[in-house]
């Protein structure tokens, strides 16, 4: 029986680190860095504080929150397709509560609560009725968008309350509040993923639910939590987006679903679950945000932008997927 020593084994492992591994780890960094260089060289405005903070960073926050929301269900091998509808619904609720009901600040926790309830609904249908999360959230994606649009009555609704707006539009030491909120939540999700039981079970469930169940965990509960968290984060995204522009249109938040999934996967969280984490999701978000901004500055035709974005996403995912862990690609 061959029993090579542990040190040999470690050497084996090191030697087995292939170019592919390095590309996987560094791919999104390289891509982000490359894009930054290209746009810095080709445009005058890209690499200016005003552009980076006010355009790239601020615009990235909504996508960041939605992508972080989507990361946890994907980590546990489910998926939440309803994210952008939750943003729409909670955004609309925020405006209505402030403008029609005059609830002021109280509108914010209520709107976020609506987001969490939406997530809870997704999670309950998924676990208790055993409907695949893909289908549940595909359904609620449509249902909640419809509800949100009905509330708006089909046109943009607005509110006027500058003190509430300041939560999203103010600055601290020259850094936009919006960006600070994004960073704060980003850090919080990292803590959730790596320092809590919830995060641990997300990874574990994503790899093999049976193993987690036989280890004595209350599996259903931990399968629902990621959806509630997703609702919470999308609720925050909806509120911040609404406060920023003090209005909610019937298609607020739309168009974020696919880029958010692309950002998650680019960041290294596999759709097959169990690997990755929110810490790297931000890379994918920045790649997309920089690309969008740079192409705008270069005045690339918006239809052409769609094509380029799609190609970059496929390329980034192709480079970053860990194929060793995937037997069959479907």
């Amino acid at each position: 029986m061959s029993t090579s020593s542990v040190s040999e084994w470690i050497t084996d492992q090191r030697e087995q680190r292939t170019l592919q591994d390095w590309i996987q780890d560094l791919g999104p960094f390289v891509m982000l860095f490359g894009l930054v260089i290209i746009f810095t060289l080709t445009t005058e405005r890209f690499f200016t504080e005003a552009n980076l903070l006010d355009n790239v960073a601020k615009n990235a926050v909504t996508l960041l929150l939605i992508a972080l929301a989507g990361t946890f269900p994907i980590l546990q091998q489910s998926i939440d397709l309803s994210v952008e509808s939750v943003v729409l619904l909670t955004g609309v609720v925020t405006v209505v509560l402030i403008a029609e009901f005059g609830l002021g600040l109280l509108a914010i926790p209520i709107a976020i609560g609506v987001g969490m309830l939406a997530g809870l609904f997704n999670g309950l249908v998924f676990t208790k009725l055993k409907v695949p999360s893909f289908l549940v959230t595909l359904g609620t994606l449509s249902v909640m968008a419809g509800v949100g649009k009905i509330i708006t009555g089909g046109s943009t609704i607005t509110f006027r309350n500058d003190s509430i707006r300041a939560i999203a539009t103010g600055n601290v030491l020259g850094i936009p509040n919006l960006v600070l909120w994004g960073l704060l939540i980003y850090v919080a999700t990292i803590v959730l993923a790596f320092r809590t039981k919830f995060g641990r079970y997300c990874f574990a469930l994503g790899e093999n639910e049976r193993v987690v169940e036989l280890a004595g965990a209350k599996v259903d509960r931990y399968k629902i939590y990621p959806f509630v968290l997703s609702g919470l984060l999308c609720g925050i995204a909806g509120v911040l987006l609404t406060l920023r522009i003090s209005s909610a249109s019937p298609n607020i938040g739309s168009g974020n679903l696919l880029p958010s999934i692309a950002a998650i996967v680019m960041g290294g969280t596999a759709l097959t679950g169990g690997v990755g984490g929110p810490h790297r999701t931000i890379l994918g978000v920045l790649v997309i945000a920089v690309l969008n901004n740079g192409m705008n500055l270069l005045a690339v035709d918006s239809f052409v932008q769609e094509i380029i974005l799609g190609l970059v996403v496929v390329a980034a995912v192709a480079l970053s997927i860990d194929r060793d862990k995937i037997d069959v690609v479907k």
């Binding site: 542990v6 039981k197 574990a204 193993v211 169940e213 036989l214 280890a215 004595g216 169990g274």
Partner: protein
Amino acid sequence: MSSETHANTTDAPPDAAPDSTSSFRVEGISKSFGHVQALDEVSLEVNRGEVIGLVGENGAGKSTLLNILTGVLEADEGQLYVDGDPVAFTNPREAADYGVSLVHQEQDVITTLRGYENLHLGREKERLGVLEMESMREAAQAFVDDLGINIDVDDRVREYTFNERQMLEIAKAFHVSQKSDNPVILLDEPTAGLEESGREILFDLVNDLRDRATFVFVSHELDEVLEISDRIYVLKDGERVDMTRVEDATTDSLQQSMVGRETADEYYRVPDQRREAQLGEVTMEVDSVAHEDVVGPASFSLREGEIFGIVGVEGSGKQRFGRLLAGDLAMTEGSMTVDGTELTNPSVSDMVDAGVGYIPKDRKSEGLLLYQSVLVNTSLAMVRDMNGSMPMLDLDAEQEATTNAIEELSIKTPGPNALVHGLSGGNQQKVVIARWLAQETPILVMDNVTRGIDVGAKEEVYRLCRELTDRGVSIVFIGDELPEVIGMSNRIGVMAKGQFVAEPFDASPGNKPTEEDLIQEMI
């Protein structure tokens, strides 16, 4: 390795057929998976018209050998010859082109398709891209009729009986190896799911087709192997330890070759077994528990520091009974008392709370998160109770528990953060055990805890079980391998049709039942 005791039989005896007439031959095949040497220089030859038996314990290398013969796996070393010419297969299709094909243990047919569609699967007849259904159907019926197989190829396979599906599989094996004038059909445990009558049909078919193909018959049932084979190869721990003509073999002699190692007492550390007087109070009382009318009602009690073995044939319900004890199968009747707490229809979570940990038979699909670290796997049960109901992990406690487990169980890993995937089977299994050790679980339900791990690792697991019982841990030891259960247990319950058939056997040192004693009750 104790191969020296069998060294005389490793070389082909003079009465083996000379190479010139052998239709299929492999020489010096070796294959290892990570640390485990699955096959070590195995040679085998198959002559025209022969039925070859291939036996060995679980993990002896039979499946690996079959996979190499059919091109599913590539050998590290060694050479295959067909009609004396060296060949190399890289996939089952190439193997089939040379006449070698496998009839799978778990039936490999698509039940929603018709018989003839299955027969032609992957080799459909088509004209201009359109399937020629009628021509395929006729050809298929003629093909099976010619083989003397009595099935209607126009029926959907889900309407076939178990037996008919197997017949279809055998027909398929002949069909794919049509290019060869002397097919080699490998039958992997073909009698596993068959009734007595089905077995007769199978054996009749094999005997009828002897002059048209060579069969390699892999089975755990030694009497069946003796009935059907002309020659028998014995594998043990990846080595070919015996090759014998059927006239010279008995079940006992085969058994001896398959197990052939140091005395059972030493191997299972029987002298370290706790004596009756050393056992503590009853810690688990199982009172007529049942799952619908599939398992149970069954009762037994387990004392502190005791190993209670459970044996039974495949389908006896022993595995499900283990799941019932673990809370993984609904307890529709009866109750359990663990350490004074009564449980009715507990969940797995309830059982873990009560102090019962379950080690499943299939560690890869149910025991381990293969792509997570040793640490994550080790602490998977203990994280539940960290910081009470607070959500935060206790990273220091995890680290400490993992480091301790690595040391105590001598788990060979580059460190706590290495992925479990890279460890050998034995070390992986130790990680599963470490999970309950870290949680200080007092009662373990083990289902075939040494399945598929090498001999050295098995011995370590046996040692570990002894040490655990010394600390007062009680073990329910469910096993397919009788010598192991006999060697390890204090008492042994024999299960059939989901129930214990008699009072448990006493298996204290010096008073162990024989395999025959148990088998008589099992059947």
